[in-house]
Amino acid sequence: MSEIMYIFYILPYVAFAIFIVGVIYRIINWANSAVPLKVPTTAGQQPTFNFIRRTWVDKIDSPSNKFWAFIRMLFEVFLFRSLFRNTKYYVEKGGKNADTRWLWLFAMLFHYSLLIIVIRHLRFFTNPTPKFVSTIEYLDGLVGVAIVPPLLMTGVIALVALAFLWGRRIFLAKERSISLPSDHLILFFMAVILVSGLLMRYIVKVDLSYVKMFALSIITVHPPSPEVLANLHWLFLIHFTFVCITIAYLPFSKVMHFAGVWFSPTRNMPNDNRRKRHVNPWDPNPEVPILARVGIVVDGQVFKSKKLDWNTYYEMYKDQLDEIAENNYTIKPEL
């Protein structure tokens, strides 16, 4: 029996290995793909003549150089800038748009609560617990201090936000329609993890000293004693297993958006097309257009278009062009 329990000790290493390798693979895979064109979505006034006013919002949303494009990325990644624009269209009200920032609000709450929760969990993996971890935990519990143990807000907020985010996929027709099983799956994982975690803290009150010993043994790569393993609560094992499964699943899932968004050409490129020429890596020296240079090669067949350079053009329409030349390249109204 006790040997089998060592699976739980092995599990996080496997999960992390898959996660790291997977994420690196995905990132390299994206990075290897070429960027043929500079295509930022310009969401504000372009860089232009100095007398045209550009607000700081314009500078972020229509970045004039790489620095501002980076700022734009930070706003996108940490503040969900684009989601903040969200509107809802009411056909029935004669086509009225209204700001709807619920999705933004709950997405922010969810992601940041998760972040704080992850940071708080560092107390299991460190001895002594670093100051900032206990400070965050203290702040988190400030509102719910009357409850023992102090009710940590992020746990509750994450659960409410999760309910909202899942609820819209279940109850709203449009969102239900676009949801794939995998969209529900990841929410299911999150729900199991959150609920089991909250249960352990507030309802079942699991003895956490063994959990901490177990966590430290993972971090220090010292296999835990059978006694520690035997005393791990079943609820903790569920919590822990799902965390590991989720971590291993991430590289294969849509959750990779956390890394992918950095590669999104519509966001990470500056709107400086007219200042700096972007070179297409697979068409770096386009003296002659591809269709007239090599054509399209499909299935061994070559489909090449004829080049219409000035000389060809001149030969084709010689009479008319000569007439224009005779008029000294000037057009005047007929008298």
Binding site: A34, Y89, R275, S305, Q320
Partner: protein
């Protein structure tokens, strides 16, 4: 042209994932929503030769006459696309299906078709990607939202990739910047590799690759059209004006969308250009030339594929070099400026002529004429690009008080301004047109804030959707814009919507008639033309009696 019913019903449907993973077939195609396919004379032409373009294909027929190994070609090209375009690859991977994009698409709002939600439009491609390029998709099939590539999938792609105008409104709201235009553009490119092309855009692409412009207008025809404009201006202003064409040694090359030579209300904008050029030449000695070889500013290739876009825009820098100009001025057009701002200098090598190089060493218009000193293009442009938008130029001329304007000549107009999608979201020119409009007219009113600037709604006809057979789709897609327009027409009595976009100018007159909104359509340069006092030619502000449409400016007393 397909008939559009008097009353449009928006029927929303919400199928679950298993249901929508089943591709639609040609039997589900609805008239007014599907595009005709290109004919051999368009895609098997000497100047525009697409793979397997020698076959006539009919969308409603079961057999699409695809090449024998079409599936291998698509999968191979898809792999190639994933390597060639990071945007495509990243956007295949990171969508979380949050739905923020759904009600941002004018076609979804107007049709209620679930696959017109940007997220679903992309999912029709992603599902194939998952099945053929990811292990989870292969193993779990539809449970992972994956499906194999079949002929019906090709039909579904053709239907939905050609119900997108590449306006990028969804990409603005997407938390990861997923740009449906990238997915659609590159999927259309995939389709073109097995002989599937849309007719409307290919007519223009082929014409442009053969004659220099989308209309297929020959050199003489273009010169004649401009001449016609000069004659009209003689009637309106009393002055005998002129302009240059194919002129070597001019200071700047001017490139406009070819619709400006003929179509209405584009025509009035064209007259505006001509007035401005004459005043500038007379006053400052700056010469601006048109070109018959580079006679097209627009680029329908940007709706088709990278290669087609490059084929069309490759002529302009070449012509700038041949004519020996210093810089290029671009006319009023939407997708043209996506192309000119974001694509052209990547897709082509720059002009190598001496004049160009010397001008961009110190790009002050004072180099051309002392009177224009102080207008420095290097405040945002360099010789690595060399294009300025006509409205940017006019804004600078106004700011530096280089031209004289009489606002009151536009007092009979109450205007609103529609931001073309590509000018707003593919370039970011938001303030310049407003600056110009406010300086050339007294009555200007904005549409509601969620429908303008970077959040602007598409006209419903961009990206190749201007085809007549798509009329119902167009009238539905334009609905959000029409609602916003109706609001300002009712509230402020707006009687003209200005837009610097050739496709807008073609779509909106039809749309306002269908939606019964009593408003005219025009371009900002028309208003500039009205207000511009030809001081250098001896015109006084009160001299002008008619505007460019020939209607009296001041009511008879």
């Amino acid at each position: 042209m397909s008939e559009v019913p008097e009353k449009l019903e928006i029927k929303q449907r919400f199928p679950l994932w298993k249901k929508w993973l089943k591709p639609i077939t040609e039997k589900d195609y609805k008239p007014g929503f599907y595009s005709y396919m290109a004919l051999p004379k368009q895609v098997n032409s000497d100047f525009f030769k697409m793979p397997f373009g020698d076959v006539v294909r009919e969308p409603l027929e079961k057999d699409w006459k695809l090449p024998e190994n079409w599936k291998d070609i698509i999968l191979k090209e898809m792999k190639d696309t994933l390597e060639k375009n990071r945007a495509f690859k990243v956007f295949m991977d990171i969508c979380v299906r949050c739905g923020a994009c759904a009600d941002k698409c004018h076609y979804y709002l107007g049709t209620g078709d679930p696959k017109n939600m940007p997220v679903m439009r992309a999912e029709t491609v992603r599902s194939i990607y998952r099945y053929h390029f990811t292990p989870f998709g292969r193993i779990f099939g539809e449970w992972a939202g994956a499906r194999p590539l079949t002929e019906d999938v090709i039909k579904e792609w053709y239907y939905y990739m050609y119900q997108c105008s590449l306006c990028r409104r969804c990409s603005l709201f997407c938390p990861y910047g997923i740009d449906t235009a990238e997915i659609v553009w590159w999927t259309r490119r995939l389709l073109s590799r097995i002989g599937i092309n849309q007719r409307f855009m290919c007519i223009s692409i082929e014409a442009c690759s053969r004659t220099g412009n989308h209309l297929g207008l020959y050199a003489g025809g273009m010169a004649g059209a401009i001449q016609q404009g000069l004659e009209e201006l003689k009637d309106i202003t009393g002055f005998e004006l002129h302009t240059y064409i194919n002129k070597k040694g001019a200071d700047a090359l001017f490139v406009a969308p070819s619709a400006d030579y003929f179509a209405t209300p584009h025509w009035y904008v064209m007259l505006g250009y001509l007035l401005l050029f004459n005043e500038l030449e007379e006053r400052y000695g700056i010469t601006i030339t048109w070109s018959t070889y580079a006679s097209e500013g627009g680029n329908f290739g940007t709706f088709h594929s990278y290669e087609a876009a490059q084929l069309l825009n490759s002529k302009i820098y070449k012509e700038a070099e041949r004519l020996g100009v210093k810089f290029i001025i671009g006319g009023e057009c939407g997708h043209m400026w996506r192309d000119k701002h974001q694509f052209i200098n990547t897709m082509n090598t720059l002009p190598k002529n001496e004049e160009w190089r010397r001008f961009w060493d110190d790009p002050d218009l004072g180099q051309i004429s002392g009177g224009l000193k102080g207008i420095r293009l290097d405040e945002y442009i360099s010789g690595e690009h060399g294009w300025i938008h006509i409205l940017e130029l006019v804004a600078a001329l106004i700011k530096h008080k280089k031209i004289d304007l009489d606002k009151s000549r536009n007092d009979h107009w109450k205007a609103t301004y529609h931001d073309p999608c590509n000018v707003a979201r593919g370039m970011g020119m938001l303030e310049e047109p407003r600056y110009v409009i406010k300086n050339v007219m007294n009555h200007f009113y904005e549409m509601p804030e969620h429908t303008i600037r970077e959040k602007t709604y598409c006209c419903g006809a961009g990206g190749g959707m201007l085809a007549d057979e798509l009329m119902e789709l167009r009238m539905r897609g334009v609905m959000p814009r029409m609602m916003a327009l109706r609001y300002v027409v009712k509230k402020y009595g707006v009687n003209i919507m200005l837009t610097p976009c050739a496709i807008d100018k073609a779509q909106f007159p039809v749309a306002v008639e269908y939606w019964k909104i009593p408003v005219e359509i025009g371009g900002p340069m028309e208003m500039v033309g009205n207000a511009l006092v030809l001081t250098a030619l001896g015109e006084k502000p009160e001299d002008r009696k008619y505007d460019l449409r020939g209607t009296p400016i001041r009511e008879e007393e």
